[in-house]
Every structure is written in structure tokens, then in C-alpha cells.
């Protein structure tokens, strides 16, 4: 069988030139699916999902651990996909000797395994980017981030430090990025490499010659900066390289028409409209191998979600609503906790709605959902909840409630990366460095 990747590349006067090939029958299987032809397994996709303000412990945490746990009131919305979800409770963030940044330490620690040393910054690449480094080669986009509340800064996907990867802020902007200019539907027969991309790639390759010369003349610190810069350039090259090849896909999908522009903000009714749409686009992006890593957020830490007419909204309610002495929790806040689970379900349902191979897209994904706090009223870092969904192509057992018993949140991160087949011994740092994944979940 021909290797299309090899045949599509060549050289021209020292610069890389890329040539398209006719769509040869020998590249297809009887159904016309490139993936089936190559025989390579379906790629495992990875997604992070962020929601703000934690949980109401009494209503969220199942009483028993294991597979037969009784679904609690706040987990009921996830019941339709219970068998594909893992619930983690009793996790902890240790700040060690770093500041305890309210609403941020939990985000940073869950996303990197490291207690953050600076507000609003991550002390390493976030887990999605760590995974993307391994799994994204060959996809058109290394990763994509989207904010259902319409704020580009509501992205918890980062290259480290302040290098947050901005989120797409509406279904239309997400659609345009994924399926607008430059996109070719891999399921269509008229797919061909974009000549503009070919040209751009050639230009980058010429620059590559110059950069070697430049690097030799630089000092150590400048070399390091240039290294970082050229890493980005290299990633752009790889992306272009990917764009010059028909993605190998198995899913049966049709790319819809562009969505209308719509209001994207913190109002719950809008989120209920926007989140499924953005989720659908995220699912299509992963199904068509535009990206293998997707980050979705429905709010910022300290979520500003509100129901019109509620003058306090979610975050303010966590502070102002008294704990009901009889119930032992904050009833209004508890409702908002449930809305969060409903929004999460709408994301998962879109992934699960796409048939792929012997299951659905969700079965070939691992979704890693995290939040900023446990009991939001006091910004607690003890008892933080997490969720995963999807079986990572059969490498992760699902349907379990895992009681973390005070384990660091990094154990879930390590487990997720093991399930993604990433080779690493430990994850996290300080008190959160762990070599102990939840092995009971790993296949």
C-alpha cells in the first residue's frame, strides 16, 4: 500500500515542496474510508471541560464507591450516560508554600498537577496541551478551545505561564475556525490539498534554513527564546503538513451549515442554547480529525452564570446565601450545581451522538472535567470533585465512583494520561506529585 504522506512531499531548490496526488482507488477500502485502508486504530481524542464553583457535597457525592454506587440528586442529570462516566470525590489540592489563590489554586492544580505560584497563570502546560504534544501530530489543529459564555479569556488551556490559548467565543467563530476557510470535508470525494497552504509551507521551509544560521550566532538565553519561537513555527509547519493530507476518519458525519450569530454570555438560558451547539461543533471537529484535543469551558472560576431575574447569580449566591440550618446546604446554590451537570451532559451527549467504528466518538475520547473549588462558599480545596467520561478507546473503565480519600487531584490527571497511553512515571509537583494512578480504572 502506498504511503500517501511520503508521496505528497518533495523538495524544490532547497525548499520543501508539497504536491497533491489524485485520489487513488488503492488508498481506499471498499467503503472509501482511509482509516480502514491504513488499518491504524482510531485515534484517541482528549478533551478537558471546565465548570466553576464545585458542588454541594451532601447532594453530589455518592455514599458508596465502586460501580454500583447510588446516583445522587446532583448527579442525576448525568444518568443517561452514567455507564460512560467516572465520578471522583474527596480529592484535595495542596498549596504547599504557595499562595492560596481563591478560585485559582484549584484550577491550576487540576489542570497541571502543580499548585500555581502566580494568579491566573499555570506553572506548566495544562494537561490537554501535554496530551496534545503526544497525540495531535497529523491533526489540522493541535488543539482547539471554546468558551460557551463568549469570553476568549475563559480558556484553561495553556502552554504555561500566561500563555493561555484563547477560546473561540461563539458557535459561529468556532465553526469558522473549524469549518470555514481552509477546511475541506474529508468525507467528500473532491478533497484536495489547499494550494495556499502548500505555498505557506514552502515559505516556512525556506525560513528554516535561515534560522539554523541565526541560532549559531545567538547567546544561550536568546537561543532558548528562539527555540521556543521556532517550536511554534514547527508546530505551524506540522499543522500545514496535516492540512495537505486527507484526514483519515471513520465517523459518519455531515458538516452542517454555519450557525447564526447568537448571544453568548453568562445567562443560563443562553448557555443552554450555546453549549449544545458548541459541543456539536467540538464533536464534529474531533470526528473529522480537525483536532484531537479540545478544551471547553462553560464559565470562569467563580462562575458568573445567572438566571435572568436572579440578582445574585451563581457566584454571589455561594457567598450570600446562608446555609439552610435544616438542610445543611445552600438550596439556591445547589440548583446552580445541577445546571452545571446538565450543561456537562449536553457536551457529552454530542460526543456520544456520533457513531464511530464499533461505538461512538465518546467511546474513543477521554473527557477530563474539572472545577475550581469544592464547597464554594468558603473556597474549599478539600473535597474537590472531578469527572471523566469516555473509555479512551477501551483503555479506561467507566461507570465508577472513586472516593479519593484525600488524594491529590493529580492522581486523576495521571490516570487520564496513562489511559491516553502517555508514558510517564509521575505527575504533579510538591505534595501533589504522584506515582499512583487509580489503577482500578486502567485496562
Amino acid at each position: 500500500m502506498l504511503d500517501r504522506r511520503f508521496l505528497l512531499r518533495g523538495s524544490c531548490q532547497g525548499a520543501l515542496a508539497v504536491m497533491g496526488l489524485p485520489f487513488l482507488d488503492c488508498l481506499l477500502d471498499s467503503k472509501g474510508k482511509a482509516l480502514a485502508a491504513s488499518g491504524r486504530p482510531l485515534p484517541t481524542r482528549f478533551s478537558t471541560y471546565f465548570y466553576g464553583l464545585g458542588l454541594t457535597k451532601q447532594l453530589w457525592v455518592p455514599k458508596t464507591a465502586g460501580k454500583d454506587y447510588e446516583v445522587t440528586e446532583q448527579l442525576k442529570p448525568l444518568q443517561p450516560l452514567r455507564a460512560k462516566i467516572n465520578v471522583f470525590s474527596g480529592l484535595r489540592v495542596a498549596v504547599d508554600n504557595n499562595p492560596n489563590y481563591q478560585h485559582w489554586s484549584g484550577v491550576g492544580a487540576s489542570a497541571t498537577g502543580i499548585s500555581p505560584t502566580k494568579m491566573s497563570q499555570f506553572d506548566s502546560k495544562t494537561i490537554d496541551q501535554q496530551v496534545a504534544d503526544v497525540v495531535s501530530r497529523g491533526a489540522r489543529f493541535k488543539s482547539v478551545a471554546a468558551s460557551c459564555a463568549g469570553d476568549a479569556r475563559q480558556s484553561y488551556s495553556s502552554l504555561g505561564g500566561a500563555n493561555t490559548l484563547p477560546a473561540e467565543v461563539s458557535p459561529l467563530s468556532l465553526y469558522t475556525r473549524l469549518f470555514g476557510p481552509g477546511f475541506q470535508d474529508p468525507s467528500k470525494g473532491d478533497w484536495k490539498p489547499d494550494p495556499q497552504v502548500m505555498l505557506q509551507q514552502s515559505v516556512l521551509s525556506v525560513v528554516a534554513d535561515d534560522r539554523k544560521r541565526a541560532m549559531q550566532e545567538l547567546g544561550a538565553s536568546d537561543r532558548s527564546r528562539m527555540d521556543q519561537y521556532f517550536t511554534s513555527v514547527r508546530e505551524a509547519e506540522l499543522q500545514m503538513q496535516a492540512e495537505l493530507q486527507r484526514p483519515e476518519i471513520e465517523a459518519k458525519v455531515a458538516i452542517p451549515a454555519a450557525p447564526e450569530e447568537m448571544a453568548c454570555n453568562n445567562a443560563l438560558p443562553n448557555l443552554r442554547k450555546v453549549t449544545p451547539l458548541m459541543s456539536r461543533l467540538a464533536a464534529l471537529a474531533m470526528a473529522t480529525d480537525q483536532t484531537r484535543v479540545f478544551h471547553m469551558s462553560v464559565s470562569e472560576p467563580g462562575s458568573q452564570i445567572f438566571i435572568p431575574g436572579d440578582s445574585l447569580g451563581y457566584h454571589q449566591s455561594t457567598h450570600e446565601e446562608p446555609i439552610d440550618p435544616l438542610l445543611g446546604y445552600q438550596p439556591r446554590v445547589a440548583n446552580y450545581n445541577v445546571y452545571n451537570m446538565e450543561l456537562f451532559l449536553s457536551y457529552l451527549q454530542e460526543l456520544d451522538a456520533i457513531p464511530e467504528g464499533d461505538g461512538t466518538l465518546l467511546d474513543h475520547c477521554l473527557v477530563y472535567a474539572f472545577t475550581d473549588v469544592a464547597f464554594a462558599k468558603i473556597h474549599a480545596l478539600d473535597g474537590i470533585p472531578m469527572l471523566t467520561a469516555g473509555s479512551a478507546n477501551g483503555r479506561m473503565k467507566t461507570g465508577y465512583h472513586i472516593n479519593g480519600d484525600g488524594s491529590p487531584v493529580s492522581r486523576v490527571g495521571l490516570t487520564a494520561q496513562k489511559a491516553m497511553d502517555i508514558s510517564l512515571e509521575s505527575w504533579g509537583s510538591g505534595s501533589m506529585e504522584t506515582k499512583s494512578p487509580f489503577t482500578e480504572l486502567l485496562v
Binding site: 481563591q102 454570555n265 447569580g313 454571589q316 446562608p322 478539600d382
Partner: protein, 482 residues
């Protein structure tokens, strides 16, 4: 390692105990403080609920404070400033076009924050640094006669409380002044009690107690109590409870006091000392530091399971208490979110001050207090070599800003000359409001009308303010990265 070392020590002590009469054996018991709260006694019925409200009770017949809890309360607070126009009050209370803002709750919150931060007798005087310049909005005070604490002055006065076990003359004027404030009132679930304890247990600071003597740990006429700061973070078990029997160092240079004590049937009563130092209640790093009790003393009851519970008490400078609470974040934020009004609190603290008489000013600078603690058994040991209380490197600038605003406030209330807000704080929502308000159609009106601190070093202030605003989490997306 340290645990092993002290287990060995205890085993040796046990052998020694076995060789000598129990009544003459030197003994040491250590504790790590697990909860630390102002000793405010909730007067409502346990288990009563009314739509999740905290019940009015014998302590506070009108219930907890409701400052800034809704538009009417905020309007009432703003209407006291005669220099505000009707339109200004109306627009602040209900900002026009709020529904068009991405984050309307947050936008209104910071407009209110800035507005309530300027309630002086004229425009331009920041209220929380200069509370004396604002009209007293009135503070609901505790009216119950039952209260926890000590008879600090040795007298039985008409305004003194009676302890739950019948002791008369209890001095706890802080409870009277502050006990109805919403975040501190509750039946074990007051917001800031929960929060402060949670942060302490998460490692913000650690307080330890070491009791030693030569007779019997339950009965000793010549015992010693040490209280102080430990650089070792509290260890919790898998269920999130403070774990017993871990080792903690106790530091002596600061926030430390050694007191003589007498123990009868497991009740430890210390002497009353002119000054008793111990860590403060805090839920942010900048609040941490020394709680300087005058005429301080401690009472602890040792339980059969080895834990301890009791009270610390003494007179504290009421200005310190004001500052420690008002500037946990900033006065407006603390007020609107927690329904406390620090102007009301300022007048209540001043009105109820009952100790530390200063003949020069002819005023009481202190207010009688009691703090409630519970503690778990621990090994409290000296450090291998003397050490200072460590600084948290990432919070040094924030701590400096806190100390600066503390100094400005104490100068203001002492001299009654209005002081500026030092840079580096988030007082009056600077510059958070400017960032949050961008999509409000009426933003120009508020930015033009509302006062705000102006700094020559605006950039430096902004940098720090961003961190603090974001730290609060209300404005991560709007006040800074990401």
C-alpha cells in the same frame, strides 16, 4: 522522622513514668488548634429554618445584619450622603442597561463597591480608611445576657454577660458589638467561621499549644501553657479532619506566650498576663499576624479522647480588629458580599470599647474579647535551631499593602484627618470596576461620577490590584488573565 523521634521520646518518658510516682512525673501535652473563632454565642433555635434565613434569636431579635443585601438596603446607605443627587442614587442602585452587560451581577457588584466606598461628609473621602468621616448607619447589637468569655476586669458590671455555666461579670464586648453581623452569626455554620477555619486547616497558618507540668496532667498546680505559631502545616486525614498525633514545631520569636497555669480535673486555667500574643484569625495571608491580647488568659478543658476545647480572651485594640476584618479583601467587597457595614462596625466597636484606657486620649482603645478554640493532640516540639515566622514569598507585596492601609486607617481614626488610600490595595474596586464595566451602556456616567483613589504609581497599584481582584475569583475573566 520527627514523629518517630518523638514517639521514641514518649516511650522513654513512659518508662520514666513507670519508675516514679505519677504525681511527681514531668509531663508534656501538645495540641494543634483545629478551629479558632470569635466566641459569639448563637441565640436562635438549632435546626430552625425559614427559607434558608438565619433565625432571629435571643442574641439578635431582628436577625442578622442585612447591609447592602438588596437594592433597598443599598439605596438607604447611599441616601445618607446629602451630596449625592437623586439620579446618582437611582442609577447606582439600578444601573441603566445592566441587562446588556455580559456579567450583570458582577458589574452591579463593583459599581456598588465603589459607591459605598465613598460615604464621607463630602465627596472624595474613602470610607473604609476614614470611617469616622461617614455617618453611623447603625449596628444591630447583641442584647442577650448570656455570653462566653472571661471576667477580665474582676468586676461584675451591669453590661457584663453571664456565662452559660452561671459565672457573672463576663467581659466580651466584641460579641455585643459584632455578634449580629451576618458572616459571624450561625449555629456552627457562620460563613467566615467556616472560611477562616478551612483556610487555617489548608495551611494558611498553624497555632499550637503546649502544656507541661510536674504532677498529673489532669491536676497540676504548677503547670505551664505555651501558645504560639508553628511553621508546620496542619495534617488532615483522609476524611478531611485534623489528624491527631503529628509533630509541630512551636516558634518563640513572635505570636508566642508562656503562661503559668493551674489544672483541676482536666480544666486548665492560666494566669492573666499583661500581654498575650498568639496568631490572629485570618482567611487571607495579609491578615495573618499577631493577635495582641491585653490582660490575656486561656481556659481549656481536656477531654477524655485527648482533644481540648476552650477559650482565649483579653482586650484587643479595636482598631486592629476593624482593620483585620475590613481589609481582608476590601471594605466594599467584604460589606456587600457579607452584609457587614464597616462604618457601622467602626462606631459599634468604638462605642463598646471597655479596656486599655488611654489617659492621653481619654478613650478606651481596647475591647474585651473571647476566642473559641478546639484542638487535637499533637507533639509540640522546639525547632532544631531558632527560626522566625517564615514569609510567604508570593504574598509579600500584598502583605505590605495591607500594612500600609492599616497604618493609614489607624492614623485617620486617631487624628480624624482623612487619609488617602495607599496604593497596592483593591479599595474602591480599583481598577476592577474599569475592567468590568466596559460593556455597560451607562459606563461613562459611573466612571465620571463615582469617586476613586488616584495614585501617582497607578501602574504598580493596578498590577497588584489585578492579582487581588482575580484572587477573589469574581473577576478572573474580566480583571486580568485569563
Amino acid at each position: 522522622m520527627r514523629l518517630h523521634k518523638h514517639l521514641w521520646f514518649c516511650a522513654l518518658a513512659g518508662l520514666l513514668c513507670g519508675a516514679q510516682p505519677v504525681s511527681a512525673a514531668p509531663w508534656v501535652r501538645g495540641y494543634v488548634v483545629a478551629t479558632y473563632e470569635y466566641a459569639f454565642r448563637y441565640g436562635g433555635r438549632a435546626g430552625f429554618t425559614r427559607g434558608s434565613e438565619i433565625e432571629p434569636g435571643v442574641d439578635c431579635p431582628h436577625g442578622s445584619t442585612v447591609h447592602f443585601a438588596n437594592e433597598d438596603e443599598t439605596r438607604r446607605a447611599l441616601a445618607r450622603q446629602k451630596w449625592r443627587s437623586r439620579q446618582e442614587i437611582d442609577w447606582i442602585t439600578k444601573p441603566p442597561g445592566l441587562g446588556q452587560a455580559r456579567a450583570p451581577v458582577l458589574t452591579r457588584f463593583f459599581i456598588w463597591n465603589r459607591a459605598v466606598s465613598y460615604r464621607g461628609y463630602r465627596r472624595g473621602i474613602e470610607t473604609y480608611v476614614n470611617p469616622f468621616a461617614a455617618e453611623d448607619p447603625g449596628q444591630p447589637q447583641v442584647v442577650s445576657r448570656i455570653g462566653d468569655g472571661f471576667n477580665l476586669d474582676g468586676k461584675i458590671g451591669t453590661r457584663d454577660f453571664v456565662s452559660p455555666d452561671g459565672e457573672k461579670g463576663i467581659d466580651n464586648a466584641l460579641y455585643r458589638a459584632w455578634g449580629c453581623d451576618a458572616p459571624w452569626r450561625g449555629n456552627g455554620n457562620a460563613t467566615l467561621d467556616l472560611r477562616a477555619n478551612d483556610k487555617m486547616q489548608e495551611g494558611l497558618y498553624t497555632m499550637v499549644i503546649r502544656i507541661s507540668g510536674n504532677q498529673d496532667p489532669m491536676n497540676d498546680d504548677n503547670a505551664t501553657v505555651e501558645i504560639g505559631y508553628s511553621p508546620d502545616k496542619i495534617v488532615k486525614d483522609a476524611r478531611g479532619n485534623v489528624a491527631p498525633d503529628y509533630s509541630y514545631r512551636i516558634l518563640e520569636p513572635a505570636e508566642y506566650t508562656r503562661l503559668k497555669a493551674r489544672i483541676r480535673n482536666g480544666v486548665v486555667q492560666t494566669e492573666q498576663v499583661a500581654q498575650m500574643h498568639a496568631p490572629r484569625i485570618a482567611w487571607f495571608y495579609d491578615q495573618t499576624g499577631d493577635a495582641d491580647f491585653h490582660q490575656g488568659r486561656i481556659r481549656l478543658k481536656i477531654a477524655d479522647d485527648g482533644s481540648a476545647a476552650g477559650l482565649l480572651g483579653g482586650y484587643r485594640d479595636w482598631r486592629d480588629l476593624y482593620v483585620e476584618n475590613a481589609f481582608a479583601q476590601d471594605g466594599g467587597q467584604q460589606g456587600i458580599r457579607e452584609h457587614e457595614d464597616h462604618v457601622a462596625l467602626y462606631y459599634a466597636l468604638k462605642r463598646n470599647a471597655d479596656g486599655m484606657y488611654d489617659p492621653r486620649t481619654r478613650r478606651y482603645q481596647g475591647i474585651s474579647t473571647a476566642y473559641r478554640i478546639t484542638a487535637m493532640p499533637a507533639y509540640v516540639v522546639d525547632p532544631d535551631k531558632p527560626m522566625d515566622i517564615p514569609l510567604l514569598a508570593g504574598e509579600v507585596d500584598r502583605k505590605a499593602a495591607f500594612e500600609a492601609i492599616r497604618a493609614a486607617t489607624i492614623k485617620a481614626v486617631t487624628t480624624r484627618v482623612p487619609q488617602d488610600v495607599p496604593p497596592g490595595t483593591t479599595e474602591a474596586a480599583v481598577p476592577t470596576l474599569e475592567r468590568v464595566i466596559v460593556d455597560l451602556p451607562s459606563k461613562d456616567y459611573f466612571l465620571k461620577t463615582l469617586d476613586r483613589p488616584r495614585y501617582p504609581e497607578e501602574k504598580a497599584a493596578n498590577d497588584t490590584s489585578n492579582r487581588r481582584a482575580a484572587n477573589d475569583g469574581k473577576s478572573l475573566a474580566l480583571a486580568g488573565k485569563p
